[in-house]
Symmetry: C2
Subunit: 205 residues, 2 copies
Amino acid sequence: MNEKTKTRSELKREAIIEAAKSAFKEYGVQATSMDKLAEIAQVSKRTVYNHFSSKEELVMYLVSDLWQKAVANVAFDYQIDTPLNEQLLTWVNYEINLICTQEYLDLSRVAIGHLFYNLSALQKEMEKLAGQTTSLQQWLKDANEHGQLSIDDIEYASFQLHSLIEGCCFWPQLTGCKPLLTEQEKKFVADETVQMFLARYQTTK
Amino acid sequence: MNEKTKTRSELKREAIIEAAKSAFKEYGVQATSMDKLAEIAQVSKRTVYNHFSSKEELVMYLVSDLWQKAVANVAFDYQIDTPLNEQLLTWVNYEINLICTQEYLDLSRVAIGHLFYNLSALQKEMEKLAGQTTSLQQWLKDANEHGQLSIDDIEYASFQLHSLIEGCCFWPQLTGCKPLLTEQEKKFVADETVQMFLARYQTTK
DNA sequence: TTTAAATTACACTAGGCAGTTTACTTAGTA
DNA sequence: TACTAAGTAAACTGCCTAGTGTAATTTAAA
């Protein structure tokens, strides 16, 4: 049992983190008081403050940590012997499946809701996320150099790809206007996205 | 002088609305107290409450009214004798110029920031906005019927177009990650958007 | 069994905010 | 000029929240 090795302090800390996660998701940061949080975590308020010196520290710990986890980078390398649309579809599917998660959406909502009037902090977090773009950009570059794509502005093209995906799978859900995509809808979006992108940039042999 | 005809009461009301607009934009709804607002408007707090029975009423008045104003619908009709890319570019430019306004962004930030944890209200406001999609959809339909475009799912295609634009001109700016686009950048985005869209859907004669 | 660190309950500080009440003043109008 | 509708200042209610101080209790380990 790994559980047994945890000290009481560690267990309490985890309870606090779990409670914060679920409460922030459900009510938002603003509407979750530290008293309420302590109650949910079954822990005294003083203990919360022993682990996190302020509410802000707790929030930022969660946002940074969880967002980072959610976006663990995957390798995505250009393969000369696999059809282009197949490779791209793989990437798009991966991206959709990441973004179309209740977990990811909830978290983004917490972060954005909280950081909306602290734009510099929001900006910093977003930049961390932007880092993961590179593996796609490298792929585009490689495909470009092999003459399979014809892209002038790789950064912009990768942005377009993200826009096509996020415009369907992220922003509408984030603002609560649409429900999570079904598997069927995901497939549709993935196919259409790849088709549009390649229609624009694939070279005609 | 139109000003002279305004009663004192009307002048006060306008002062309140102006103050609310600017304060909400600058600090957000949450961080603007009614005391502060009254002070900015140079009006007693009681007067604020005489005009708007609650803070919420004031907020919703502004959000509805101003957002509505910002999105006054324009006619956009299919013309058989004008090149397709030119027509589409006109629409895209119009859309970009609407969305890329400080006014529109500020307002959206107020609305979204305020309504983030009141998703059903946010949803309602967003739906009002969605109404204006129709003129684009009608255009797509007409172009489709004239055999100039080949679109199966018109609603989705119009969504893609919006995504391509908003992914560049709205969301990054809303979250404070990027500055407003320059005229040059707007032009670039408009051209690229039209090109990608037509690469996907324009029929090859 | 002793010890030290962590946890707890709970009272408390200090401040913020929405909205109300009251007694008084101003401005336009009949 | 007198009346009335509106505005004003300032104190006040009632509620909520972040964060602290402390004395007593629990826990785990030496």
